[in-house]
């Protein structure tokens, strides 16, 4: 199993998750990767990704899982065959599919923000105000308590660490709340910069976790 970390930025952020999956599969094919196929009437490539990124959001830390042996200069070959905005940065070889989705705990995000009221920002971080989320065109209020781990402003940027996976909080809901209450957010969407997993009660950067579990295997 190869785990490849990749980014999805710029115009690629406008590509939906299902389209992105197809793009990654075609890129792997063009790169000449010898990927395993499922067995059955309609064989499909054994390639999956970390949780879907909302349309419009950019990310520097997406992961794809490809059922294949390690191959020479895999990263380079993949990058030569991916469309604009997709770029692979690291690769790990693991024995089996690492449970990074099941263990996912937090995501880091950053967004451009012109002005912000520091006191109200702190209240938002403490979960004093509910966030509004939209599902199928209907707006719901949701309690943000305990789901915002970090909310900081520095030099025109907002840094957020939000609950991911189960009971997650979407960054656009927080940005909307900041817009309403105390600031002038410029970004139309946010940039995801890191994912964290919960390993035995400890919060660990997914990169470090993957590094840990592939110890003993051939380093790529």
């Amino acid at each position: 199993m190869l785990v490849i970390k990749y980014s999805k930025t710029g115009g690629a952020s406008l590509v939906s998750h299902i389209d992105a999956l197809r793009i990654l599969q075609r890129s792997a094919k063009r790169a000449g990767f010898k990927v395993k196929y499922s067995e059955g009437f309609s064989p499909h490539m054994e390639l999956s990704t970390s949780l879907p990124l909302p349309l419009g959001d950019e990310s520097l830390c997406e992961y794809m899982f490809i059922d294949m042996q390690s191959e020479q200069s895999a990263l380079q070959r993949l990058n030569d065959n991916m469309p604009l905005g997709f770029r692979a940065s690291r690769v790990w070889q693991t024995e089996k599919l690492p449970p990074v989705i099941a263990l996912l705990q937090y995501n880091d995000y950053v967004a451009d923000c012109a002005t912000v009221n520091a006191d109200i920002l702190k209240e938002i971080a403490d979960g004093k105000y509910p966030c509004v989320i939209t599902k199928k065109g209907i707006e719901y209020q949701t309690d943000a308590t305990g789901r915002i781990k970090r909310l900081e402003y520095a030099e025109g940027k907002l840094y957020m660490t939000l609950k991911a996976g189960e009971n997650n909080l979407r960054p656009d809901a927080v940005l909307r709340l900041i817009c309403d209450k105390c600031g002038d957010v410029i970004s139309s969407a946010s940039l995801k910069t890191a994912q964290y997993v919960n390993v035995g009660g400890k919060t660990v950067n997914t990169d470090d976790y993957l590094e840990e579990i592939c110890m003993g295997h051939n380093r790529l």
Binding site: G10, G11, A12, S13, L14, V15, S16, D19, R22, I23, Q25, R26, S27, A28, K29, R30, F41, S42, L55, G56, N81, M82, P83, L84, G85, I186, S187, S188, A189
Partner: protein, 596 residues
């Protein structure tokens, strides 16, 4: 992409239609002497499936000093947003306003897309009519299959390219590059460009009218033809779209032209002379395409793929090669009379598509669809036996000499198929029947025929709806009103430019999408413009000069008239072949089977 443009795209459906950045898309940052934008008068997913656009885009980008970008008709939600903002319609590659290109070239494949051209021009902040545009605006040109009769669009374009773009567009862009260097005016350039085969400059060659009818042409335009298809440019490093498109697969073009001579079919006569690619060339192209795109489906495209002589050899080569063996092959335009090649692995059989076009043998003979009842039976029986799950059948309604018996016979064919299926114990075998309305298109033996009246079409459709209420049979039909507009736009002259503009201004756009077709806008435009719509929809006089005769298409009027005569006698014409020439006249444009 600016933050503002991204915000706009995030507010519309399917933003990746407008974002660009696909694999193999051109690098627009490159220095360029000529910047061209290919505009397609339909949505991204339709335009990106178009093989002509693919060929020309990559051909231009390989041309020295040329950068070519793309733009498609925005969907209604995006059009609304653009109208309500100060943002103009932009290209996909560099998100440049369309006014910032040297040449804006529209590819037009369907008459019901004409209003989309005006929508795109308006959203690009470009005046619609040529007469209203000065040298500040790009050169606005058109090409594509609709150039069979360019006259209805004459007032909108600076020039129009008739025939194969691989030849005339390349020459035009090359000439533009030279003329731009010396600062030549648009008018001077167009006068010079008019000498290129296939370049039609409508304001330079206006037909001479007498008493409202065309009396003569000042000059005729010879259609441009790529004589040797095997040596004609074909791209293998093609754009792979980021979203799913209508025909999301690799395509090779087996042949251009069709030898069957079905009398209703415009493509058959327009794309003559018949040219083919060798199986060797196609095999190499197919392999490169699959390697360069990652597609898992390959279409062997042509107007009649079953007639491609080297088909068995090509299919077996593709199936035995390591790269192409896993690829699913799709063969559009198979004829019922031909054996269906063994294409899919067992267990992957889906449905087959055939176009008998008419229900009875008599009517099939009239339209020269050279297939017999017996061939239909044996092919369909074979398909059912082999385990296909269903069949899609295409027919036409409103054909010349058609009677109610001919229409009812469509249902007889369906009943027969169901009986074959029952005999094979395949009760779930499904049949999809689709009827379109016959459009008397220019450059066919039926170009003078009347368009069936609305009442007649609807009556026959209703009759079939009743007759086809059978289990596992689905019936769909084309709208009678939009078909009438299609005939008007196909056969009209310059006065139609006014109708198109009025219809657009009254709200007609995306007319080819039934949910958007605006019947009232067209009715208003027709009545306000004062054109004789009933005359254009009725039988045309063989003695009159038709607007599309301004194009020398190779196929002669005498040949079309002869074929029309044979149609009324119910006599068929055999398909042309290397040894048997029907003398249609297309040979003079380069020779059928040249280069083989």
């Amino acid at each position: 992409m600016t933050e503002e443009y991204k915000k706009l795209l995030l507010s519309v459906n399917k933003p990746s239609r407008y974002a660009g950045g696909e694999f193999n898309a051109a690098n627009a940052d490159k220095r360029a002497d000529v910047r061209m934008c290919l505009a397609f008068a339909d949505l991204y997913e339709v335009g990106m499936s178009n093989i002509g656009l693919r060929i020309l885009y990559h051909m231009l980008n390989e041309q020295d000093g040329v950068v070519c970008e793309r733009c498609f008709t925005p969907d209604t939600d995006m059009a609304e947003k653009l109208r309500g903002s100060c943002t103009a319609l932009k290209s996909l590659e560099s998100h440049r306003d369309l006014t910032r290109f040297d040449i804006l070239g529209f590819s037009i494949g369907f008459e019901l897309c004409y209003t989309n051209i005006l929508l795109m021009l308006e959203l690009a902040r470009i005046p619609l009519r040529r007469a209203e545009r000065n040298d500040e605006y790009p050169l606005i040109i058109a090409g594509g299959p609709c150039m069979v009769n360019p006259e209805p669009l004459a007032d909108f374009f600076d020039c129009m390219l008739i025939g194969d773009g691989e030849e005339c567009l390349k020459k035009l862009v090359e000439m533009y590059k030279e003329c731009k260097k010396i600062g030549m005016s648009k008018e001077e350039f167009l006068k010079k460009a008019a000498d290129i085969d296939g370049v039609y400059v409508p304001w330079l060659a206006a037909p001479i009218y007498e008493e409202g009818k065309i009396a003569a042409f000042t000059r005729r335009v010879k259609r441009s033809v790529a004589k040797n298809l095997d040596k004609t440019y074909f791209p293998t490093e093609i754009i792979v779209p980021n979203m799913e498109i209508i025909h999301d697969r690799a395509v090779v073009e087996l042949q251009r032209g069709c030898s069957n001579g079905c009398r209703f079919c415009q493509a058959c006569f327009y794309y003559r002379p018949m040219r083919t690619r060798s199986a060797k060339t196609l095999f190499e192209q197919a392999k490169d395409l699959i390697n360069n795109t990652g597609y898992d489906e390959l279409s062997l495209a042509s107007l009649s793929t079953g007639d491609y002589k080297e088909l068995p050899c090509l299919v077996s080569a593709l199936k035995s090669d390591e790269v192409t063996a896993r690829v699913k092959l799709s063969l559009p335009s198979l004829r019922l009379s031909k054996e269906i090649p063994e294409l899919s692995a067992p267990g992957r059989l889906g449905s087959l598509t055939f176009a008998p076009e008419a229900g009875t043998q008599r009517l099939r003979d009239v339209i020269n669809k050279n297939i017999s009842e017996c061939e239909i039976d044996s092919t369909l029986r074979g398909a059912i036996k082999r385990g296909y799950k269903g069949v899609k059948l295409y027919f036409m309604i409103g054909l010349p000499t058609e009677t109610d018996e001919d229409v009812a016979a469509i249902a007889d064919i369906v009943h027969k198929i169901k009986r074959f299926a029952a005999a094979e114990r395949n009760k779930s075998f499904y049949v999809t029947v689709s009827t379109s309305v016959f459009i008397p298109k220019p450059l066919t033996p039926f170009q003078w025929e009347a368009h069936a009246s609305r009442g007649d079409v609807e009556r026959k459709q209703n009759m079939l709806r009743g007759l086809l209420k059978i289990k596992n049979v689905k019936y769909s039909w084309h709208d009678a009103d939009s078909s009438r507009i299609e005939t008007l736009l196909a056969r009209g002259d310059r006065s139609l430019s006014d109708v198109i503009e009025r219809a657009y201004k009254a709200g007609a756009v995306m007319d080819s999408w039934s949910e958007h077709f605006n019947k009232d806008a067209w009715a208003r435009a027709i009545s306000e413009s004062g054109i004789n719509a009933d005359g254009l929809l009725g039988k045309l006089d063989e003695g009159e000069i038709a607007p599309w005769e301004i194009i020398d298409n190779g196929v002669t009027k005498e040949y079309l008239l002869k074929e029309r005569g044979l149609a009324y006698e119910g006599k068929t014409t055999p398909p042309c072949s290397e040894s048997c020439c029907g003398a249609c006249g297309a040979n003079k444009l380069g020779g059928c089977y040249a280069g083989n």
